[in-house]
Amino acid sequence: MLNLLVINILLIIIFLTLIKKMISNTYLFVIIAYFSIIIFNASIFIFKQKFNLDLMWLNFSILTFLFTIYTWIYGIITKSVSIKILVFLSKNKNKYRIKEITNNIVQNEFDKRIRILKENKLVNSQKEFFQIKKNGIRKMNVILKLRKFYNIHKKNFYF
């Protein structure tokens, strides 16, 4: 058990240090690394012809857990506005007004999201005006149906 765990950790380190530098898309990297290591583990069991279910299940669960945590943290550090505010505050350690934080971080994030919506063809922009596209309405309807299914009532962007 311990041998395989050490091998898996070494494999993860190799993937992180070598492959990650080549693949800039973190989600694609996670999929490639996860399935490669799972296939490697499976081939060890087939090669040794020892089908210890306890060991296989534990190995699979540890790998799944590590990769989920890795992807989740990536989402937090790249998308979370709160973390971005904190990093901004830490740069000069100065005192800031709410308005300054809005102008430096939240406004940029808002613009970034508009860019994402435009890139995904959910929103149309002409000059300085924006309009939701049919594709955007369709996606929004799915979200609204899901919210109805889960009985989620939103008053504003937050509760």
Partner: protein, 165 residues
């Protein structure tokens, strides 16, 4: 089929069932807070794993530990889906212009923030930083403290050495 295989199948079914449990709880308790709902269903899933592992199948502890790890991974994935559905920034922005014909950015911000401005959103995010005690706030002035600096350093370290972002 051995009990181990049965337990693995049940583990996956419990993981998937959280999404159904969320719907059932919100149907029974109409005004339940989504955070509370998620917390209750997560605890229910853990209890189900322990019940089936310890009392029903009386299986090896390693199996139960592995199933708990799989369930934790599943809860993280479900939470991501749940938080996008409720608090998603981009989703909420899209929702704000759903019924509007043509609007400019200023109007978009106004609808999004409920006839106010983006400072409302900043205040909301700052509330979260105050909960984890990473900043100090005096009236309208914000300053980072030692906890905040530590989190920021961890963030920089992870970004540099684990994500190369």
């Amino acid at each position: 089929m051995t009990i181990e295989i049965k337990f693995i199948i049940i583990t996956f079914l419990i993981c998937i069932s959280q999404l159904l449990q969320l719907a059932i709880f919100s149907f029974i308790f109409k005004k339940i807070d989504p955070k509370t709902n998620f917390l209750i269903t997560s605890i229910t899933c853990y209890l189900l794993i322990i019940y089936f592992g310890v009392f029903f199948f009386k299986i090896n502890e390693i199996f139960i530990l592995a199933s708990i790890l799989i369930l934790t991974s599943s809860i993280i994935i479900n939470f991501t889906f749940w938080s996008i559905l409720i608090w998603g920034f981009t989703v909420s922005m899209l929702e704000a212009i759903k019924d509007k014909k043509r609007i400019n950015k200023y109007k978009w911000i106004q609808i999004y923030s409920g006839n106010k401005n983006l400072n409302v959103f900043t205040r909301d995010r700052i509330k979260l930083l105050l909960i984890i005690k990473s900043i100090k706030k005096k009236r309208d002035i914000i300053q980072i403290n030692s906890i905040g600096l530590t989190i920021s350093k961890i963030h920089t370290f992870l970004r540099k050495y684990f994500y190369y972002a």
